[in-house]
């Protein structure tokens, strides 16, 4: 059960910890440097692993599915926000690729034990947790952790391993993962969540309760230390002072609520309106006001100087005095606006419950908002809901619903499958009220009817969430600095043009908020760490290669262009607000066709075209797919 650990001082070869839970076996896999240059870590490594090792017939809950938890070259360096992890697997929501990120201390700690990634296969006969530390890696009995939520597991393991704070990083999937709630997440270090595409359900199916990493003593080797220090300063200075990122530096994603309502992109009551309620003072939802509404202290991730993550104390109501992780925008959305809850204290408490139970807050918001709307319309009865009177904005009722879902109790068993499957189960008018993609995923916590590029990206992307993401340094990719977000010609151009950049960032082992820098600068940092001569062009090729692998993985699993659609409600036309009457549905097919052409994918089969595959170095895959 125990793996062998070696301590290297300089230039150690990239090393992955392989874990077979069925056999209880752990072993090291080293990679030649040249091969690693093409993988980097995170999304790049994950895409390669699932493409090579997870055949189409291996479902998300099959023991042979792989769960990749990887960091990247930036981890453990002085660059800001370099404690993150990327989780890649076949996800439970779409049945296709999942690639989702969380921050905290995981990456830094993993690196300090001499590893760059963990690849988990098999399924344990009994509940176990994986511990990695200075004296090796081992699987340990986790029977005492059953039923414990994510924060409790972290506290229990702090006691058991006699370490706390940044000395121990713990990621687990909570009761939701244990009960294979399809949209279970992986959460760690008190509030950091890899939430997309049911990665926690995969962890639960493997009977892996947690991964705990005690800080090790392997020094991080860097090719050019002074150069890296200088670049760390350049990047952090940019993030602090750039007009586009300065507010994230000061307040994280807190200002986004007030920002999005003006853009018609705040999802209010399950996409039924885009109008701010007259009885809710806008001032209490301003970013600074949200932070100041609760006593708080900083809770930043490894080596991060952003004034972003905080611990807060609920100020009023029945939960006053309880400590919660300050919600991200997604929490304010999923536990607030989407379900009609406009009291920040109530939303913050519900968000904390969601994190601890360990479900994706976006899916929870769409599911609960849908159930509230259906209840109002008489499509879901109180009896069906286990006696819960599920009214708009009632966070306590939503908390009860969460408990039902997490325990898969009564109708909670249906809801635990996510909003698409629950709506299909009810059918009729209820189906038309649900927000989801035809692939089975849900959007982030925005109203994408006011952000067409995000709807296109979410519905067409291969990872169960946004794949291209928001524009960063668009000039580098020949894209305009700004587009009209309702422009059916510009939207596919931007989404296709950005494809791959996010995969590169998600392979570095850093946070997307701290890598909002030109690709060229990120490559300089990568070169200072590795001694390579990476260029922006190679980074983009790398990103496109990763996108091709994810897409080919999905298409061969039966997830093709016929699923490139939003649900009826998701793709509907806003009835009020800034986007009133602007109908994405009228342009959808043309936008999809343009995206396929610009991205280099075949619109009939969905596969990347052979020219694209060859241009990113996937010659064998081009041969395999196209002959």
């Amino acid at each position: 059960m125990t793996g062998r650990m070696k301590t290297e001082t300089m230039n150690r070869p990239p090393r992955v910890l392989r874990v077979d839970l069925t056999q209880g076996r752990l072993w090291d896999q080293e990679y030649p440097e040249q091969q690693w240059r093409g993988l980097l870590g995170g999304a790049g490594l994950g895409a390669r692993i699932i493409y090579d090792e997870v055949p189409p017939e291996t479902g998300w809950d099959h023991p042979e599915n792989r769960l990749v938890m990887a960091t990247g070259p930036f981890a453990g360096t002085p660059l800001w926000g370099t404690g993150g992890l990327t989780v890649v697997t076949r996800g439970a929501m779409t049945g296709g690729a999942a690639s989702t990120q969380a921050n905290g201390f995981f990456g830094t700690n993993l690196k300090s034990t001499g590893y760059d990634a963990i690849i988990i296969q098999g399924a344990s006969p009994d509940w176990v947790y994986l511990h990695i530390g200075p004296r090796g890696a081992a699987l340990r009995d986790a029977s005492h952790l059953r039923g414990r939520d994510t924060w409790q597991v972290q506290q229990d393991l702090e006691e058991e391993l006699c370490r706390r704070g940044r000395q121990l990083s713990v990621f687990s999937s909570g009761p939701a993962g244990e009960n294979r709630v399809r949209f279970a997440a992986i959460q760690g270090d008190y509030g950091h969540v890899a939430s997309k595409n049911g990665v926690g359900a995969v962890m639960g199916a493997k009977k892996l309760k947690a991964v705990a990493i005690s800080r090790g003593d392997v020094p991080v080797s860097v090719h050019d230390g002074p150069g890296l220090e200088r670049l760390a300063g350049v990047i952090s200075h940019g993030v602090r002072n750039d007009p586009g990122t300065g507010y994230i530096y000061q307040l994280g994603t807190l200002p986004v609520v007030r920002n999005l309502v003006k853009l018609g992109a705040l999802p209010i009551r399950n996409y039924t309106t885009n109008l701010w309620p007259e009885d809710v003072p806008g001032e209490i939802w301003e970013g600074q006001a949200l932070r100041d509404s609760m006593a708080h202290r900083g809770h930043q991730c490894s080596a991060c100087g952003m004034h972003h993550c905080h611990m807060s104390v609920i100020a009023s109501g029945p939960n006053a005095g309880k400590i919660v992780d300050e919600p991200e925008y997604e929490g304010w959305s999923g536990c607030g606006w989407t379900i009609g809850c406009t009291d920040p204290q109530e939303a913050a408490w519900l968000n904390d419950r969601v994190d601890r139970a360990c479900v994706d807050v976006n899916e929870f918001g769409w599911l609960t908002g849908w159930a509230m709307e259906c209840h109002e319309k008489g499509l879901l009865t109180r009896e069906q809901l286990g006696g819960i009177d599920l009214k708009w904005g009632d966070a306590r009722a939503a908390e009860k619903l969460l408990d039902m879902i997490v325990r898969r109790e009564g109708f909670g068993d249906v809801l635990a499958e996510g909003v698409k499957r629950a709506a299909e189960h009810i059918g009729g008018e209820a189906l038309g009220c649900a927000v989801y993609t035809m692939k089975g995923a849900v959007p982030r916590g925005h109203d994408h009817r006011g952000r067409w590029e995000e709807m296109l990206d979410t519905a067409l992307g291969s990872t169960g969430s946004l794949e291209s993401g928001a524009m960063v340094a668009p000039h580098e990719l020949g894209l305009p600095p700004r587009i009209n977000p309702y422009d059916p010609a510009e939207v596919p151009r931007v989404v296709a043009g950005m494809l791959g950049r996010r995969h590169f960032e998600d392979s570095l082992g850093s946070c997307i908020f701290t890598t909002r820098a030109p690709l060229d600068t990120l490559c300089q940092a990568l070169n200072a760490i590795t001694g390579w001569d990476y260029t922006a062009g190679e980074a983009l090729r790398f990103g496109r290669r990763t996108a091709c692998l994810f897409r080919a993985f999905n298409v061969r699993s039966g997830i093709g262009p016929e699923l490139d659609y939003p649900s009826k409600r998701y793709g509907s036309t806003p009835v009020d607000g800034p986007g009133k009457g602007l109908a994405i549905g009228e342009h959808w097919d043309a936008m999809v066709a343009a995206w396929y052409e610009l991205a280099g994918f075949d619109p009939r089969s969905g596969y990347p075209l052979p020219e694209l595959l060859r241009s990113v170095g996937l010659n064998a895959e081009a041969e395999e797919i196209w002959g």
Partner: protein
């Protein structure tokens, strides 16, 4: 805030001027040296365009100007801020060079960057 803010005044016909309301959220107003959300009236020559209004406002605040305009010389807006005129994002019903009308409302907010 603005040296052109009108505290009183007649109709546009009486003054020969055009007045529009400008709103900035907290983040944008901080680029103009203020704390918290900001709303003020801007006075412009009759027939002034949205571009002219934005140029006038940003000329008083270099940090706002840097955030608002494309720094690569395209003459258009940059990637950082979004401009909304009467509840519609620029480009939907009006362009940068469209004329303003009396009492139009210009909202400056941060460009969405993810979250």
């Amino acid at each position: 805030m603005s040296d052109d803010t009108l505290s009183k005044g007649g109709t546009p016909q009486e003054t020969g001027r055009l007045r529009v309301v400008v709103e900035m959220d907290s983040w944008v107003s901080s680029l103009a040296g203020a704390t918290g959300p900001l709303e003020f009236t801007e006075t412009l020559p009759p027939g002034a365009s949205i571009r002219q209004a934005l140029e006038k406002i940003s000329s008083r605040h270099p940090r706002l100007a840097r955030a608002l305009w494309d720094q690569r010389g395209s003459g258009g807006l940059g990637p950082n801020l979004e401009v909304i005129v009467n509840d519609a994002v620029l480009g939907v019903r009006r362009e940068l060079d469209s004329p303003l009308r009396e009492n139009d409302r210009i909202i400056l907010t941060g460009q969405y960057v993810g979250g």
